[in-house]
């Protein structure tokens, strides 16, 4: 267990191990092969940030480049899944997902239901999300909440290399369509990852810091800021449970409610825009099912309701950080009726 690899390598390893195990697993997307046969560095680039690098050499035609036509290749992946393949399609940036909502929302998500359970759609759509990459308003959004809104989709948001590998393997083995969110700033994060294959079940949150004073519910990149805040707060005598949701559809309600019933205080940290997002969803869940336990109003830490700014200074201001999380925790601790 002592081996450390990056988040990006963990996803690559999951893809490689599942492609080796099951010949129905295929991969496709813009530049997923990328320049194969060219000289040196240009050979098999493996997607815009190199996540699928090396797969072409091992699996040949089972990984393919697609034209810049998301509606066509996402539709092809959904169709292939309905016909017995297990495609993993990469839609470079989640910001571009709008052009293929019909294929995702109206087709993939509905097949199992509308065919009376006689059809399955084991497609995985991998996509990059998130701010902090200086990529401006059209390449930085955090849109997982929109997919959690649609029944029939599973929505996965890993925060660590260990989770990225185990959740990707589960996503590929799962018989439902899975939207898999990869934060581009996390790609270089290193962590311990077992060499063997393993699957992390969906709907099972991880508790990454323990404490009885305040519950912090979060996901994706924000998990790291929340843990930093919890470590700082622990030195000041405030002990936080930090819950990493891992998947938002399905949602591990039990772990959230068990924690809030113990702490009586909730801070939700979410990188997506503040209206109709994961934070509001969790806040509503707790207000409805754990109201009696609450000792203070629920705090939500999110960006403001604006596009992601291109200016470095403004983008840094936009993304929630450990200081803002600590401030929110302090305010719920200090609340007096």
């Amino acid at each position: 267990m002592a081996r450390k690899i990056t988040y990006k390598q963990a996803i690559n390893e999951a893809l490689a191990q599942e492609m080796a195990r099951d010949s129905s697993v295929i991969a496709m997307g813009e530049d997923n092969v990328g320049g194969a046969g060219a000289e040196g560095e240009k050979d098999a680039w493996g997607g815009v940030l190199g996540v699928t690098k090396g797969l072409y050499g091992r699996f040949g035609d089972r990984i393919m480049d697609t034209p810049i036509s998301e509606s066509a290749f996402i539709g092809a992946a959904v169709g292939a899944a309905a016909c017995g393949m297990r495609p993993v399609a990469e839609l470079m940036f989640v910001d571009f997902m709008g052009v293929c909502f019909d294929q995702i929302f109206n087709q993939a998500a509905k097949f199992r239901y509308m065919f009376g359970g006689k059809a399955v759609t084991p497609v995985v759509i991998r996509t990059m999300y998130g701010a902090g990459f200086r990529a401006a308003a059209q390449h930085s959004q955090c849109l997982y909440s929109m997919f959690a809104h649609i029944p029939g989709l599973k929505v996965v948001v890993p925060s660590t290399p260990y989770d990225a590998k185990g959740l990707m393997i589960q996503a590929i083995r799962d018989n439902d369509p899975v939207i898999f969110f990869e934060h581009k700033v996390l790609y270089t994060l290193e962590g311990e990852v077992p060499e063997g294959a393993y699957a992390i079940p969906f709907g099972e949150a991880d508790v990454v810091h323990e404490g009885d004073d305040v519950t912090i519910v979060t996901l994706g990149r924000m998990v790291h800021f929340a843990r930093d805040a919890a470590q700082t707060l622990a030195k000041r005598g405030i002990d936080c449970d930090v819950i990493d949701l891992r998947t938002i559809s399905p949602l591990d309600e039990e772990t959230i409610l068990e924690s809030v019933n113990r702490t009586g205080r909730l801070v939700v940290v979410d990188e997506s825009s503040p209206r109709c997002n994961v934070a509001t969803d969790i806040a509503a869940l707790v207000a409805q099912k754990a109201f009696a336990a609450l000792k203070a109003p629920i705090e939500q830490v999110t960006p403001p309701h604006v596009p992601v700014p291109f200016s470095d200074a403004l983008e840094d201001l936009y993304v929630p950080d450990a200081a803002r999380i600590a401030q929110a925790v302090t305010s719920v601790m200090e609340f007096k009726r």
Binding site: A2, Y198, E210
Partner: protein
């Protein structure tokens, strides 16, 4: 004079430990330390325990303060006889600080590197530590791994060459099991491991299912066993917590695993979230649930142990048991009439963790 100065450093308990927190000293400056004496309480993110002294002499300096978090290998204290001056100790500390790079060097690190041996087409993971003295092969129990010996390996390695292996289906070893998943089949893997490492004979230390495996190895090849050290071994009686054995194979729930793991210890506070997390991570690996189910089936006949093993003639044995063992009853400790028996108070099934100092002493450290 500096050759008379000995250091106490942050131990490495388990493969993933990189730093530890000092929870408090059990000795004071001026005290005379004995080898094996518990001197300072240390906590990693996985486990808490007391560091045993590997040196003898007067504790001259305490450098690590309570609640301080320090990297593995960091200087915690200095031991030296009275004739060494304070100035010489200061110089020693200064030289150590100048040369210390966290995460580098140190004998403990070499031993924590996982190595692999190929046995019957199966990859078996192990660590080896110490290069003096007779070979000691540590065999963990059902659902365990080489890290179960984290409080033992360092101390034992002072006088032995210590091999800690992962049985098939466990740890970093391949998950495919021998056709016979019981002690006899596993014993062939252990003997194959000894062949691969060029060990004609060794002390076999087996815990629980690993104890039954060590006994089976002694039956198959008594001439290759210098001595058997059986720690709460299976195979000496009918009774066992069958619910634990089957439940551990079956469950994927953190809560249930925590509940089951608590039965392994006399002090349930030993079962931290990190410990349960590690069990969960092990159980999620492809092939592990099947391997555990196969071992459970080989181990159990209904709710009783399937196998009763005897000590082969000519092999001497020590049996060590925790008095509060809830998995296999301590009453089995006297089943081997010719063995030396040691029952340790305040310890459960994981007696080599809960009473590490005593167990290390009994193993000849």
């Amino acid at each position: 004079m500096s050759e008379l100065i000995q250091k106490i450093t942050m131990p490495k308990w388990g493969l993933s430990m990189q730093e530890g927190k000092v929870n408090g000293w059990l000795v004071h400056v001026g005290d005379t330390l004995r080898q094996g004496q518990e001197i300072v309480e240390i906590e990693s993110d996985k486990i808490a325990g007391a560091l045993e002294s590997s040196v003898e002499g007067t504790l001259r300096r305490v450098l690590a303060q309570e609640d301080e978090v320090l990297p593995v290998g960091a200087l915690l204290g200095v031991v030296a006889p009275a004739e060494v001056s304070d100035a010489e100790i200061d110089a020693f500390i200064e030289a150590f600080a100048a040369g210390f790079v966290p995460g580098e060097g140190s004998g403990a690190d070499a031993g924590s590197r996982v190595q692999y041996a190929e046995i019957d087409g199966r990859r078996i993971a192990y660590t080896v530590q110490g290069d003096a003295g007779p070979a000691l092969v540590l065999i963990h129990g059902y659902g365990g791994d080489k890290n179960n010996w984290l409080f033992n390996v360092d101390t034992l390695a002072e006088r032995h060459t210590v091999y800690a292996l992962d049985l098939p289906g466990h740890g970093d070893s391949d998950k495919a099991l021998p056709a016979d998943a019981g002690p006899a089949g596993m014993a062939q893997v252990v003997l194959g491991f000894m062949d691969a490492l060029g060990l004609d004979a060794a002390h076999l230390v087996g815990h629980s299912f690993g104890g039954a495996t060590a006994l089976a190895a002694a039956q198959a090849a008594p001439q290759r066993v210098r001595r058997l050290h059986l720690i709460a071994p299976a195979g000496l009686g009918a009774e066992i917590d069958a619910d634990y054995v089957r439940g551990f194979a079956a469950t994927n729930s953190r809560k249930e695993l925590g509940r089951l793991a608590a039965r392994l210890f006399a002090d349930e506070a030993q079962v931290t979230r990190a410990l349960v997390d590690d069990l969960l991570k092990f159980k999620r690996l492809d092939g592990v649930p099947e391997a555990l189910a196969a071992i459970a089936a080989a181990l159990l006949d209904g709710d009783a142990q399937r196998m009763q093993l005897d000590l082969p003639p000519g092999v001497s044995a020590t049996v060590i048991w925790g008095e509060l063992d809830r998995i296999i009853p301590v009453a089995h400790a006297t089943a081997l009439t010719s063995a030396a028996v040691h029952v340790l108070p305040d310890a459960g099934h994981m007696v080599m963790m809960e009473a590490a100092r005593e167990v290390n002493r009994l193993l000849g450290a």
